[in-house]
């Protein structure tokens, strides 16, 4: 979609503003009611930066602890992660998926769909799967679709309903059968406690609880920035994340511990971020910056990379090497700084964008050799 087309598409703005209206007020209420959230956020940022300084150490430790209860794999990039997961699964299997941005990042669904039956089980993400689009928002992926459009999209599956409630119930019944028969459940991870190798997941729909417990086997994709030293920090991380999304407390906290668990640790650029982008690794992907950004509110995910869009999406796309039309894309930011102001981690996103304007100007200049990526954090801890 081009910019002018997005400007005419009022449903992007309507959807995002509706979410901001619903969730934004909740965030402010949460912060007032639970003042400790800000302390947690601060503590979390320091912990995440500390871990990021030494991913090698923490990953090694995480792998050793995880091996005590699961099959463990390390994927350097998205391609390798898909191959590993594809090998675990084989072909002709029924797979249920929890919504996971990391799985979007590595293109896992389409990779598996080639030889398996794959279902997104989060309602919004199922709508995205069926409409062949990328998520509009990290938490609310189908926020830009009207009820009427959802009726049409779900109709492709023969799922019928006249309104949100009927549609949701029809999807519940449809997917319940899939959950009960599924061979594999796949989820991402909101936080991973290294000390105990526990996976923490928050949600409201209950699909993650079913995805992680019902199928014969379970695969978790854990990207490096989710690593935290212990349970307490992991808990604080999911608390901060959901409080800043606006849905706090989350309806469910899941900590899957079961037989038949496979854990795939994913790097995909995270352990070798260039200097200047490291702060992005502390992002909890609450999506608040997407809702509050005045540019995003108008053109939505037209502004961003293949998977991650909006203010947080620029840094993430750069880290995971998926920033399309990279240099140009950076100039849709006005550097207004609202994202930093409302970010729970106080990530200086305008600085990250200015930084990329500098480095990409050099790397995309045909007359200059691209700058070498340095392993910035290596051995500082």
């Amino acid at each position: 979609m081009r910019i002018l087309q997005a400007l005419r598409n009022k449903s992007i703005r309507e959807g995002l503003l509706r979410s901001l209206g619903n969730l934004g007020a909740m965030v402010e209420e949460n912060l007032k009611r639970y003042p400790y959230l800000l302390e947690y956020a601060e503590e979390l940022k320091a912990a995440k930066l500390e871990v990021a300084r030494n991913y090698d150490y923490w990953l090694d430790k995480a792998v050793r602890r995880a091996e005590e209860k699961a099959s463990v794999y390390i994927a350097k990039d998205g391609e390798e992660a898909c191959r590993i997961i594809g090998d675990i699964i084989g072909r002709g299997k029924l797979i249920v998926k929890a919504k996971s941005m990391v799985s979007e990042e590595i293109g896992l669904r389409s990779y598996l769909e080639a030889e398996n039956e794959v279902w997104e089980t989060d309602l919004g993400e199922l709508i995205i799967q069926l409409s062949n689009q990328k998520p509009m928002h990290v938490i609310a992926p189908a926020v830009h679709f009207s009820e009427r459009e959802v009726i049409r999209i779900l109709g492709k599956l023969g799922i019928e309903g006249r309104n949100a409630e009927e549609l949701a119930m029809a999807v519940r019944n449809f997917l319940r059968q899939k959950f009960l028969k599924a061979d594999f459940g796949i989820s991402g991870c909101n936080a991973f406690a290294v000390e105990t190798a526990r996976i923490f997941l928050v949600e409201n729909e209950g699909n993650i609880r079913l995805t992680t417990s019902l199928p014969k086997a379970y695969i978790a994709i854990v990207s490096l920035e989710k690593l935290l030293p212990n349970d307490e920090l992991a808990l604080k991380s999911i608390i901060v994340q959901s409080a800043f999304v606006g849905t706090f407390p989350p309806s469910y906290i899941n900590i899957p511990e079961r037989d038949g668990t496979h854990i795939v640790f994913l790097d995909n650029g995270r352990s070798e971020v260039e200097e200047g982008l490291e702060e992005q690794l502390t992002c909890v992907k609450c999506g608040r910056c997407q809702l509050e950004c005045p540019v995003y509110q108008i053109i939505g995910n037209v502004w961003g990379g293949e998977t991650y869009s909006g203010p947080m999406g620029i840094g993430w796309s750069a880290i995971t090497n998926t920033l399309e039309n990279s240099y140009d894309m950076l100039f849709l930011c006005t550097l207004c700084g609202k994202c930093e102001e409302i970010c729970p981690m106080k990530i200086d996103i305008p600085r990250i964008i200015r930084h990329l304007r500098k480095t990409l100007a050099i790397s995309e200049d045909p007359h200059e050799p691209p700058p070498k990526k340095v392993k910035f954090f290596k051995n500082q801890g």
């Binding site: 399309e324 039309n325 100039f331 550097l335 500098k358 480095t359």
Partner: protein
């Protein structure tokens, strides 16, 4: 595929214009410093009014943006880009006649600066103005990620001011203010004091000097659009509010003000003028009906005016009250 005017082309244009004329649009500098005529301001004062040229450049920006807006994503978009790259435009002092900027537009923005000067004079603030020392801050270099270019430009500005013995500048727009208050100390060895004109007025209030000369009763409530640099980065949004309140004017704020202010869209005007306009429209809608809409940044002001949103500058409001 996202499409916008190629930032590299725009950035090159800006860089070259600054090199040639000292300002990002390539307008002859002497044309930008005529606003003070007749005010008899001293050129030798250690404390200078430093406009940073942004108010004066606004009518030119508006014209250029109108042209860019018309051709965005059209068949001739590429042609416009090539034109921006062309040698003819790079001898940019020729730009002004091509643009045909209406005289009254220039006078309007010059008038705002005059008002600021007059208010300061009325408040017995001791300051001068030297057109030769009224320079562009270079903040666009910083914003496009060219930190070296910025440091170089900023150092030159600081050196020139120092050579002439300038110790303090009074700024009038948020971009120049941010450059002087935050960036210059970081990127140069600047020790120049910097205050915005409204901070100086605020001092006046504290000393009980400021008094409304006209009838405040007739002034409707005001709603302020805080520019991002003032409201968020510099946290100065309480100052204009204090001034207005002490003059007896009611200020009505929306949620998105002060530290949470929402951008007018101005900074993307040359990359996607249509996006910029849409942002301005929505922001204006948000503030409509609350009171007289006031801002204090030439980029915000001209962007709002481009979408015909009835904003006035803070200096216009104050000027109307007691000059």
């Amino acid at each position: 595929m996202v499409s916008l005017y190629k930032p590299r082309i725009i950035a090159d244009f800006v860089r070259e214009s600054i090199k040639k004329t000292g300002n990002p649009l390539g307008v002859q500098s002497s044309k930008l410093t005529t606003w003070h005529e007749g005010l008899k301001l001293s050129e030798r004062s250690k404390r200078l009014l430093f406009t940073g040229l942004l108010y004066q450049l606004s009518p030119y920006t508006v014209r250029i943006t109108e042209i860019l807006s018309r051709f965005e994503e059209s068949k001739v978009e590429k042609l416009v880009e090539r034109l921006i790259q062309s040698k003819t435009l790079r001898v940019i002092s020729s730009l002004a006649p091509i643009l045909k900027v209406p005289k009254e537009e220039k006078e309007y923005y010059n008038g705002i600066i005059r008002k600021i000067a007059q208010i300061l004079l009325k408040q017995k603030v001791d300051f001068g103005y030297n057109p030769g020392l009224d320079l562009y801050s270079g903040i666009l270099f910083y914003e496009i990620g060219d930190e070296e270019g910025f440091a170089e430009h900023a150092s030159r500005v600081v050196r020139i001011l120092k050579e002439k013995g300038v110790e303090e500048v009074i700024t009038i727009d948020p971009h120049t203010t941010y450059a002087f208050k935050v960036l210059y100390p970081e990127y140069t060895d600047s020790e120049i004091e910097v205050r915005t004109y409204f901070e100086l007025l605020d001092d006046g209030i504290e000393y009980g000097k400021i008094k409304p000369l006209s009838d405040v009763e007739s002034v409707a409530p005001v709603t302020l659009h805080d520019p991002c640099y003032y409201g968020r980065y510099l946290e100065l949004s309480n100052v204009p509010r204090k001034i207005l309140t002490s003059l007896g004017i009611e200020v009505i704020d929306v949620r998105n003000s002060g530290k949470l202010t929402s951008c007018c869209g101005g900074p993307v005007e040359s990359f996607s003028p249509n996006l910029s306009e849409t942002m301005a429209k929505y922001r204006a809608e948000e503030l409509k009906g609350k009171g007289c809409m006031v801002t204090m940044c030439p980029i915000c002001l001209s962007n709002f005016k481009r979408v015909r949103a009835p904003f006035i500058d803070f200096a216009e409001l104050l000027g109307g009250l007691y000059v």
